[in-house]
């Protein structure tokens, strides 16, 4: 059988998926133990025990200076920023995408502007954001909003344009006006696309969040990583990175499940 026709079974593909992870872990553990055997003070590749100890310290031991649990505090601070930004991004992106994708006059006026804005590297204007919005929460939220909204709006605009024109004509023959076509026909279909687009844009959202926190914050996952970097605390950095990865994966999974649950019609299945 040709290679391109060879479909792995479910159990086989699970096993195949495990192999790279196991290999990676094995390589890490081997090198870590080799370096630690050479020099027990080595900080670059900490052992699992060291990482567990450091994580315990961050997660379950009260910080003597502030009286709080650092990892919990960092996580909540980061998730709050991310959640606020994504709420703003979703609403802005949806409104822009809906209006630009539906009304040719609005698109002719504003689409070029959105296209230019989406080319600006958001991190390049971070200093401006700090100057304009201060060093507080607002500037971090704004970075994510400015970074992601143009991309999302352009994507949703495109999606709205891709709706078959037959559907829009049909709505008009049933007596719809521009507004009711937008809210009854296009918007519900765009919300479904919004969830899919957000899943793709989550990576960028985390990137902007960690960057903003690294530069100016007093708590947050990105802040912590860049703080302990000064002490070469790989035993804290690595668990934090794993934790962020897990959070990102969980958000992605939650969005996927939400989509299946809210938009059964888009999954091609009956109720």
């Amino acid at each position: 059988m040709r290679l391109l026709n060879h479909q792995p079974q479910r159990s086989t593909s699970l096993l195949l998926a495990m192999i790279p992870f196991v290999l990676l872990a094995a390589i890490y553990l081997l090198n870590s133990s080799l370096r630690l055997a050479d020099n027990p003070e080595d900080k670059l590749l900490p052992s699992v025990a060291q990482m567990v100890e450091a994580t315990k310290q961050m997660a379950w031991v009260e910080d003597p200076a502030t009286g709080s649990y650092l990892m919990l505090e960092d996580t909540l601070a980061s998730l709050k920023r991310l959640g606020m930004s994504l709420a703003v991004v979703s609403i802005l992106g949806l409104v822009l995408g809906l209006v630009l994708g539906t009304i040719p006059l609005a698109s002719a006026t504003i689409s070029p502007l959105v296209a230019v804005f989406s080319m600006i590297p958001p991190l390049a204007i971070l200093p401006i954001l700090f100057i304009v919005f201060g060093l507080d929460e607002l500037s971090k939220v704004m970075l994510i909003v400015i970074g992601i909204t143009p991309m999302l709006a352009r994507d949703l605009e495109q999606r709205a344009r891709e709706l078959p024109k037959e559907v829009l004509i049909k709505a008009q023959t049933l007596g719809a006006n521009t507004w009711t076509v937008m809210i009854r026909v296009i918007l519900p279909q765009l919300v479904s696309r919004l969830i899919t687009s957000l899943r793709l844009l989550m990576g960028s959202a985390w990137l902007f969040l960690i960057s903003a926190e690294a530069i100016s914050a007093t708590e947050g996952l990105g802040y912590r990583i860049f703080l302990v970097r000064r002490y070469l605390s790989m035993d804290v950095i690595l668990p934090y990175v794993l934790w962020i990865t897990l959070l990102a994966w969980l958000t992605d999974y939650a969005l996927k499940k939400l989509h299946q649950c809210w938009f059964p019609w888009a999954e091609g299945a009956g109720r």
Binding site: Q172, T173, L174, I183
Partner: protein, 263 residues
């Protein structure tokens, strides 16, 4: 005076002439089937009637008034594909037709009005044989069921003209026959004027009371796009059906109601 009238209608895109000099008078209640080779302007003719395009020359009159240049509720349509809203269930797809027509701000009904609309939609769906699929989404329906839904959706809005763009082109012959029977019985009940584009000549002859053949009269081999298609044959068919309908339409409404109950 005729119901729909084409007065010297031309349609050209750039220097590509698609239709030339169409003169046509259609009486109300006619079932016109449009046949002809591919690229002969049948679909263009339908788009002109729909208001999706306006003619480059001449005018189209509906009841003596020029046709509005955008789709509106006077003309219902069923396309071959994408005729229904994928994000709504079968029932909602028909209810939305009532809602869009009557609610310009929210495009939906609440409470008592919603219940009434649902009842009316259910009745229409039962008429087309979809009562068992009310809560399914279009994606899970077969092609024939989707077209039944599209017809129900178009008819509940009570258009005066129904435009069908190869509605049964993608269906297998058995289902197509069922759809023909359904369409004829639905037309029998109303004074709808129907235009249907089809590739199937037998279908055109079977359904129509008037068969319009589109063809190019003049062909210049050096400039194939220079001349457009005209209506070369205009054949009266099934006249008994049309006169029967015309007679039924003259009956007083209380008689019509009582016969409906009996059948």
């Amino acid at each position: 005076m005729s119901f729909i009238s084409f007065q010297n209608v031309w349609q050209r895109y750039g220097d590509h002439v698609v239709l030339e000099g169409i003169h046509l008078d259609i009486e109300a209640g006619a079932f016109c089937t449009l046949v002809g080779a591919s690229g002969c302007g049948k679909s263009t003719f339908l788009r002109l009637l729909l208001g999706q395009e306006s003619p480059s020359k001449g005018q189209i009159l509906l009841d003596g008034k020029p046709l509005s240049a955008e789709p509106d509720p006077s003309r219902g349509v069923v396309f071959q594909k994408y005729s229904v809203f994928p994000h709504l269930t079968v029932l909602e797809n028909v209810v939305i037709a009532l809602e869009l027509a009557a609610s310009p701000v929210w495009g939906r009904f609440w409470g008592e009005k919603k219940r009434a609309a649902r009842a009316q939609a259910t009745q229409m769906l039962t008429r087309v044989g979809l009562e068992h699929a009310l809560h399914q989404y279009p994606a899970s329906l077969s092609g024939g069921m989707q077209q039944r839904l599209a017809i129900a959706q178009a008819l509940i809005a009570k258009p005066r003209v129904l435009l069908l763009d190869e509605p049964f082109g993608a269906l297998d012959p058995g289902i197509r026959k069922d759809m023909h029977a359904l369409l004829l019985s639905l037309c029998q009940e109303s004074t709808l004027t129907v235009f249907m584009v089809t590739h199937d000549l037998a279908e055109g002859f079977h359904l129509g009371t008037r068969l319009l053949v589109f063809d190019k009269v003049r062909i210049d081999p050096h400039a194939p796009k220079a001349y457009g298609a005209k209506i070369t044959y205009d054949i009266q068919l099934n006249q008994d059906r049309q006169s029967q309908r015309a007679q039924v339409a003259t009956l007083p409404s209380h008689v019509l109601r009582s016969t409906e109950v009996e059948s």
